[in-house]
Symmetry: C2
Subunit: 378 residues, 2 copies
């Protein structure tokens, strides 16, 4: 008789429409019916990515699409700038290095956003840099980077801008064309309300041209193969059929209120979560650059974060994430994206209050809930 | 009010247990519950692959696992032997070439199996060959290759044997350890009764050792990363959670009667299909090496194969596959693997008879059905 509330920053809960789509009898993919679904899914993805660029669907997790971005655009011994302000920023460096790319690594304190001016300076110092890799919302710290500002400084150079929007797409605006992002990478299991297993890339003409010339070896993740297939609403390899069908259901749901209303809804949930954090006398890990997709909360030194997360799960069925790597045990992360609603946020805060109280942390019980409700009722 | 019968060699129909597993609320993957599911799935895969080797689950289509086998074992400029007897044999060559591997290509007439002696001769002529890539069941032609015989000749050399069992695993025996196959590659959407989106590899100690030394660049498909994660029933990247849960359901179903009974069932369906083909005065594309997973039927010259496939679909809801590449329009392919039963085979033969009759082909109507039923009632 347990009831679970999933507020982790991936996977996120699935709406009934998605579960329904996943459980339909399977159809064949080399058919007009499925090609029509692919075409609609691509159109929906372009809408949410705010782009007219080509968009490809890959059967892989988000990391596969990150690797695709590296291997299609760069060759061994090319120069790239990677921004490391958390675990997923580091992944860009790891992938680049695996392919022999020379990485200029810009380390940013975990919990801080990167300053576009610092990127500008790095690009000025090394004009050989062909690609800038940055994370939009760094899931490990809850930081949102200023992609618009970064795009402005990258646009003054010949480099392409490649953005990991895996945990922001659907929860926060990505104005791909207006800002001028060459490649946006996204995944299914975050803001898009789907299970993991699909990844997405939008690719500018400039990046596609680089893909014609880049020499990094690749096959499964080839943009050339993807472009050729998706131009006829086909896929180069067998697609993850039920996930693609569910993708369309999810994107139709997300589109139904319009993008502005969608993002306003998540922003309100993020504000309410942050208000609760302050009311409980806690601090944000990234107060100056807090994402609207996930909130990372610093825990008092005498509170064991791993235990807190575990007790919230076992006692209240509330699933939040702990810290990763150097933040292990020191933070908790509450997601507000995808099929997470105001009621879920209240449940998470209520559980957090109860467990903090039981662990001896001193605060006014109910203060977090009240602060959140104040925001929601505005 | 249409009713569909899916007899294509991937995707194949999904049993209700799998559809049910796919539509459950999602759970988080970094948990004891999910780790237990992974451990059980790996155990089940080892059973069906008849191996004690390491087995990894990848979030990709089967081609991703093929690429993984190439990049983890070989380095640029290494020598490999690829066997091309159809579209999927050619894929091995394409992937190897994408990574700068020197391919010794053994071309085999489409519809024929490769002779182990010919492989032996090629290996003798070029002792630099480090890996032999072969297709167990070539989906494009319905040919089954003699993996046991091939393994015997490869074992006399230092080369590793890498087998694409994407469309045979679950339908035909793969005795990985007994035969001595270093890497077996499989996919979810064929004999294993799952949607596409997962791929599997079993990797011998020898192949894992080569993975320590091979220099082909890779990241998402790294065996080293997979080994490290799966050793603690974890995955290096976010797994396709519902597909992994459904995998376990499907494998438990396949295991329930024992492997010998399972394979005998598909062999009977294959025999019945072939008996029907002969009774209709038609021929097999690969009479000397017909697979028990899929039957490829040669069509008379005056029958348009594309039209035949289309009319079977639109008039009777029966989905069989046509020919690919050089076989386009010339054959049809009927699958008998996964959640396909004797009744489905009868429905397919009945539809084939009706449409052949309507297209002016002369034969005794009902003869195919009778021949199949004779086999089934034995």
């Amino acid at each position: 008789m347990k009831k679970s509330y999933l507020l982790t920053p991936g996977p996120t809960p699935l709406p009934p429409e998605v579960l329904d789509a996943l459980s339909r009898p399977i159809i064949h993919h080399r058919t007009d019916v499925f090609r029509k679904i692919i075409a609609e899914a691509i159109e929906n993805l372009k809408y949410i990515l705010q782009t007219k660029n080509d968009v490809f669907i890959l059967a892989s997790s988000g990391t596969g699409a990150m690797e695709a971005s590296v291997v299609n655009v760069l060759s061994s011994a090319d120069y790239a700038l990677t921004i490391e302000g958390g675990k997923f920023g580091q992944r860009w460096t790891e992938i680049c290095k695996a392919y022999g790319i020379n990485c200029d690594v810009l380390e940013v304190e975990w919990g801080k956003a990167v300053e576009p001016e610092v990127i500008q300076e790095r690009l000025r110092k090394n004009p050989k840099i062909k690609a800038v890799f940055v994370t939009h919302c760094e899931t490990s710290t809850g930081v949102v980077n200023d992609i618009e500002g970064i795009a402005e400084v990258v646009a003054k150079t010949d480099a392409v801008l490649i953005v990991d929007a895996i945990s922001s797409l659907g929860a926060m605006p990505i104005k791909t064309d207006k800002w001028g992002i060459d490649i946006v990478v996204a995944g299914s299991q975050k803001g898009l309300m789907l299970p993991p297993g699909l990844a997405f890339v939008s690719v500018s003409k400039k990046a596609l041209k680089m893909a014609q010339e880049a020499m990094s070896p690749n096959y499964y993740f080839s943009f050339k193969k993807a472009k050729k297939a998706f131009d006829s609403s086909d896929t180069p390899f067998t697609p993850a059929i039920p996930l693609v069908i569910a993708l369309n259901e999810a994107l139709n749901l997300l589109r139904s209120d319009g993008l502005d209303n969608l993002f306003a809804k998540y922003k309100k949930m993020a504000c309410a979560t942050r208000a609760a954090v302050f009311a409980l006398g806690l601090k944000l890990l990234s107060p100056d650059a807090a994402s609207d997709a996930v909130t990372a909360i610093k825990l008092p030194q005498n509170i064991d974060g791993a235990k807190l997360v575990k007790v919230m799960r076992t006692e209240h069925g509330v699933w939040v994430a702990g810290g990763q790597a150097e933040l292990k045990g020191k933070i908790i992360r509450i997601a507000h994206m995808g099929y997470i609603k105001e009621s879920d946020i209240l449940i998470a805060i209520s559980s957090l209050e109860k467990v903090l109280d039981s662990m001896g942390y001193k605060f006014q019980v109910g203060a977090g809930l009240k602060a959140a409700e104040d925001i929601f009722s505005k």
